[in-house]
């Protein structure tokens, strides 16, 4: 059925494909939990990818590249921070400006580097764990940034859930007036969060140019910054679910590339995915509720209808542009996810400017 696709390699490449989105998304999650909506992720990411790449080439050391990318992303986010926090500009507009500016800046900086190869960033073969059959190559034989990304997600989870500073940050994001009244410095907390977000976006971008691609090309981030924003919504502003979202999207990306290479029919895959999803919905729902609820049966039924539709369409043999649907799949998947997951849970002060009057 799966032809030339090796599931083990697919799962391994999923972890790599998910890392840049995960890094950018976890940074934005912290920013949004502090009540700031920074739509400039894409701009910071692509600037980070260029700065990191140039630094890695100049020094020959990928680690310095990553550090430079984090600094570059943070510096760019500082611009956003000053405008939105001190000059009280509209966050949506300023974020868009940051993306437009970052795209231009990256194109300008990267001019002489098109097609240049990045220095090798070797994979870690973690002793013992990496030798476990099947699981070892999937999970424990990647480059250090994959684990650093996971570490950052875990750290953010601990910070938001367990630490006092995380509580302050959440308070600032939920209700900045109240946090201000309690004596917390709203602007300072937000500036720090914004810079953390910028550094993470920069790291994510550099991961693309140094490890994933690993050459410099124009438009290298391919809208991953925007997908990262969608993942934060998908995650309901929770780090754990963010991890799941990033891996789902990494899976879609990895699968899309593999399908294109293997020449499998997308309609067949969609049929299977819909059927598997239906089974998962029913079984997970049953385990959680100990009963079949109407809502989950409705979902399973619609998924089965979708599966029937896909196979029927294939059977009819109508025109179906495989390349078109495959290459737009990450974007369509993002829209689907946003529709399903737009249940709310956003921080109360998200996107609002704070001005301590009087």
């Amino acid at each position: 059925m799966f032809g030339s696709i090796d599931p083990q390699l697919l799962l391994a490449s999923l972890m790599v494909a998910a890392t840049p989105i995960m890094l950018a998304a976890i940074g934005e999650l912290v920013v949004e939990r502090a009540g700031v909506l920074n739509l400039g992720v894409e701009g910071m990411m692509i600037t980070g990818s260029v700065i990191g790449f140039i630094a890695a080439i100049k020094t020959g050391n990928p680690w310095i590249g990553f550090a430079a990318a984090a600094l570059g992303g943070a510096a760019l986010s500082l611009l956003f921070g000053v405008l939105t926090q001190f000059l009280l500009s509209n966050q949506v507009a300023t974020g868009l400006a940051l993306t437009l500016f970052g795209l231009g800046l990256a194109a300008l900086l990267g001019q002489g580097y098109l097609g240049v190869k990045a220095p090798v960033f070797p994979d870690w073969h973690i002793p013992l764990l990496g030798d476990i059959p099947i699981i070892g190559p999937i999970v424990f034989q990647h480059d250090p940034m994959v684990y650093l990304g996971l570490g950052i997600v875990a750290g953010v989870w601990w910070f938001l859930k367990k630490s006092r500073a995380g509580l302050v940050l959440r308070a600032v994001g939920e209700n900045h007036e109240a946090a201000h009244a309690l004596g917390y410095n709203v602007i300072r907390v937000r500036m720090l969060a914004i810079m953390f977000g910028g550094a993470c976006a920069g790291l994510g971008g550099a991961y693309l140019s140094i490890v994933r691609v690993p050459t410099y090309a124009a438009g290298l981030t391919a809208e991953m910054g925007w997908i990262a924003l969608a993942i934060v919504v998908f995650a309901g502003w929770k780090p754990g679910r963010l991890l799941l979202g990033a891996y789902l999207f990494g899976g879609v990306t990895a699968l899309q590339l593999n399908l294109q290479a293997a020449g499998l029919s997308l309609l067949d895959v969609l049929t299977i995915v819909a059927l598997v999803a239906a089974v998962v919905v029913v079984s997970v729902g049953f385990i959680q509720n100990r009963a079949f609820t109407a809502k989950m049966l409705w979902w399973a039924a619609s998924l089965c209808i979708a599966a029937a539709f896909f196979s029927f369409y294939k059977w009819l043999g109508w025109v179906f542009n495989e390349t078109l649907w495959l290459s737009s799949s990450p974007y369509i998947a993002t829209i689907f996810v946003l529709v399903i997951m737009s249940s709310g849970g956003a921080p109360g002060s998200l996107g609002k400017s704070f001005h301590a009057s009087r």
């Binding site: 507009a93 400006a97 437009l100 231009g104 829209i335």
Partner: protein, 360 residues
């Protein structure tokens, strides 16, 4: 200690002055940027802002001002409706592409019939409907599922780009094109061409953009809907109490901006661009966001901002060919313009006060 004090009323002076100051700040930044790139700063600035208007070849560049300005103004006008109401359509580029594709499909279907009275209007309607429909996707999702319209409209840009590539290489490919990608040349097909006077840069997109400016002006100055849009943006609760339906407003703002972007795309593809090719779109949908803000979301302001932004495109081309200034430098320049405007805008709503001593 410097503090900001909210003004009881937005300052009239700064609401007009901020864009002008922003342009000057951007010019200073631009001069520094060009100097850093090893270009003579003053000369580069004069190439961008002076040469196209008053230089030796201005007869060639001035029509370009209409060609590049019209789509920017049309799209930005549509966007300004939503931006005023807090509805963020940032996928105008996608609506522009889909409008162009739908309109071009109608035009190509009629080929080679000679009936300008029928073909061009049909294309315009198809273009408007195409853009409208594409904008309705985020609109309906927002209304029905409370989905974030920023991300959905943006994601649809990339879907539209993939669709454009599929069309230019597939269904719409010129059968007499000797295998080259791209459709038949619509601007050379008399009944479908949007040109009115090619030598002077006049095409139907320019006319429609100007009509749209007038309509938008009337909408905001005289019509209740314009007032409701402003109200929904500034005081959503008050708007809800006064009976403004948020859902209707979302669909209206997105629909109008989609239709305008669609028309802009169609008139571009059947005029200045000529063919449906993979890269006929050059990002007007994104630049229009800058135009909308630079024009202070006001129809007449947008007209002027569109002209200025068109000038930076043309001047950028001039500087690129004569000084070798990289294209990306103009993009940075445009981004900076939006940044400085947003930054200086603080003076419209706040007063800067210098306070001595500690503040409790």
């Amino acid at each position: 200690m410097i503090i900001l004090e909210k003004r009881p009323q937005p300052s009239q002076f700064w609401s007009y002055g901020a864009p002008i100051v922003a342009v000057f700040v951007t010019m200073i930044f631009g001069a520094a940027l060009f100097a850093a790139l090893g270009q003579p700063p003053i000369e580069a600035l004069s190439k961008i802002f002076w040469e196209p208007l008053f230089g030796e070849f201005s007869f060639f560049y001035l029509p370009q001002l209409l060609i590049k300005g019209a789509p920017l103004v049309a799209i930005a006008l549509g966007l300004s409706l939503g931006f005023k109401a807090g509805i963020w359509n940032i996928g105008a580029e996608g609506q522009y592409i889909i409008g162009a594709l739908c309109g071009a499909a109608v035009g190509l279907a009629f080929y080679p019939m000679e009936a300008r009275w029928l073909v061009l209007p049909a294309m315009l309607i198809a273009g408007a409907l195409g853009g409208f429909a594409w904008a309705m996707i985020p609109g309906i999702l927002r209304v029905k599922f409370n989905t974030n319209e920023i991300l959905v409209s943006l994601m649809l840009v990339y879907v539209a780009e993939q669709l454009l590539a599929a069309m230019a290489l597939g269904a719409m490919k010129n059968p007499e094109g000797m295998g080259f990608p791209g459709s038949r040349n619509l601007s050379q097909y008399g009944s479908a061409s949007s040109w009115i006077d090619q030598g002077n840069g006049m095409h139907w997109g320019v006319v429609i953009a100007l009509i749209a400016v007038i309509f938008a002006y009337i909408l905001f100055a005289r019509h209740i809907l314009g007032f409701q849009i402003k109200l929904a943006g500034q005081a959503p609760r008050a708007a809800a109490f006064s009976g403004v339906s948020p859902a209707r407003l979302v669909l209206f703002c997105l629909g109008v901006s989609g239709a305008l972007a669609g028309i802009a795309g169609l008139t571009e593809v059947s005029g200045p661009a000529g063919v449906v090719s993979i890269d006929f779109n050059v990002g007007y949908g994104f630049t229009a966001i800058i135009v909308a803000f630079l024009g202070r979301l006001h129809p007449v302001g947008i007209l002027m901002a569109g002209a200025l932004m068109a000038l930076t495109y043309i001047g950028g081309d001039v500087a690129q060919s004569s000084l070798g200034l990289p294209k990306a430098a103009i993009q940075v320049f445009q981004g900076t313009l939006l940044f400085s405007l947003l930054g200086i805008d603080v003076l419209t709503n706040y007063r800067v006060r210098i306070k001595r001593g500690a503040v409790a």
